[in-house]
């Protein structure tokens, strides 16, 4: 077993284990923290694939910005294990069974096919900032500009939804 396979296995176990802890922990704050661990494991996978730009962006945007927003909302609402709503046992069992069946079927179907395609590990320059930047600003300028409009509309939408209460009170 080579060192690459060992690192891959470690990161995979870390990602899957933390994801399982996320959906099973009672306290929402713990769920947010476990999801951050999942994002760090996925960033480790990106570094292993030599996609350095995406690894850094994943940590900054997901673990840094989005999860802080989640944590902020959870703490703002003062959610904890006591206020956590619990689904009844039957529905939980049905959900786990159907999800597990989906996973079992697709994994067994994937492992049957005999495609021997290899993935380039820890080499290649397609994930470097220079190549990605050249591609983004040469071929994908229009989507890049449209995404700024998307952000503006999302920002305005969040402010409008957040201020709705006050407008109703004035009427």
């Amino acid at each position: 077993m080579s060192i690459i396979q060992i690192i891959f296995l470690l990161l995979s176990v870390m990602a899957v284990g933390s994801a399982l802890m996320m959906i099973t922990s009672k306290n929402p704050v713990n769920s947010v923290l476990w999801l951050i661990v999942v994002f760090f494991a996925i960033s480790g996978h990106y570094i292993l694939l030599n996609a350095q730009f995406l690894a850094i962006v994943n940590i900054i945007v997901y673990a840094g910005a989005i999860m802080v927003l989640f944590l902020f909302v959870v703490m703002l609402m003062n959610l904890n294990a006591e206020t956590e709503p619990v689904k009844n046992r039957r529905l939980q069992l049905i959900g786990i069974t159907s999800g597990g069946a989906l996973m079992l079927i697709i994994v067994s179907a994937i492992s049957k096919i005999d495609v021997e395609q290899l993935v380039q590990i820890n080499a290649g320059d397609s994930g470097l900032i220079k190549v990605l930047g050249m591609n983004l600003f040469k071929n994908y300028v229009l989507p890049f500009e449209i995404s700024s409009v998307l952000f503006l509309s999302a920002m305005i939408g969040a402010v409008v939804i957040g201020k709705k209460e006050e407008i109703e009170n004035k009427k």
Binding site: V16, A19, S31, L35, V73, M103, V107, I110, L132, S153
Partner: protein, 110 residues
């Protein structure tokens, strides 16, 4: 590494996200499971892009393998916009019904 290992890992993460959406009732946790599913797809896209980097077509064009990573970048952009609006909606819902239980959102049923 074999591409199959990455496909199976992404599938497992994606199905954990699906099970989370089905099992939990807290709206914030359901939202986090959606983020987990998006990340599983991102990981698979990057693995496929690095698989294509080994093909013969990648030698002809420098941008060939980085297209999928641009795509992942745009998925992250859309996810960030989605989270800001979604959390605003959840805060709004908490203000009105004082809970984040999604089972309280059944007023359209009757």
């Amino acid at each position: 590494m074999d591409i199959k290992a990455y496909i199976i890992l992404s599938l497992v993460l994606f199905t954990i996200g699906i099970i989370g959406v089905l099992v939990r009732r807290n709206a914030i946790i359901i939202f986090m499971c959606v983020e987990l599913m998006l990340n599983a797809v991102n990981l698979l896209l990057v693995a496929f892009s690095k698989m294509h980097a080994l093909s013969s077509a990648a030698k002809a064009s420098a941008n060939f393998a980085s297209d999928a990573q641009i795509f992942v970048f745009f998925i992250m952009v859309v996810a960030a916009a989605e989270v800001s609006v979604g959390l605003a909606i959840i805060v709004m819902m908490y203000r009105n019904v004082h809970t984040v239980d999604v089972n309280f959102l059944n007023r359209l049923k009757n």
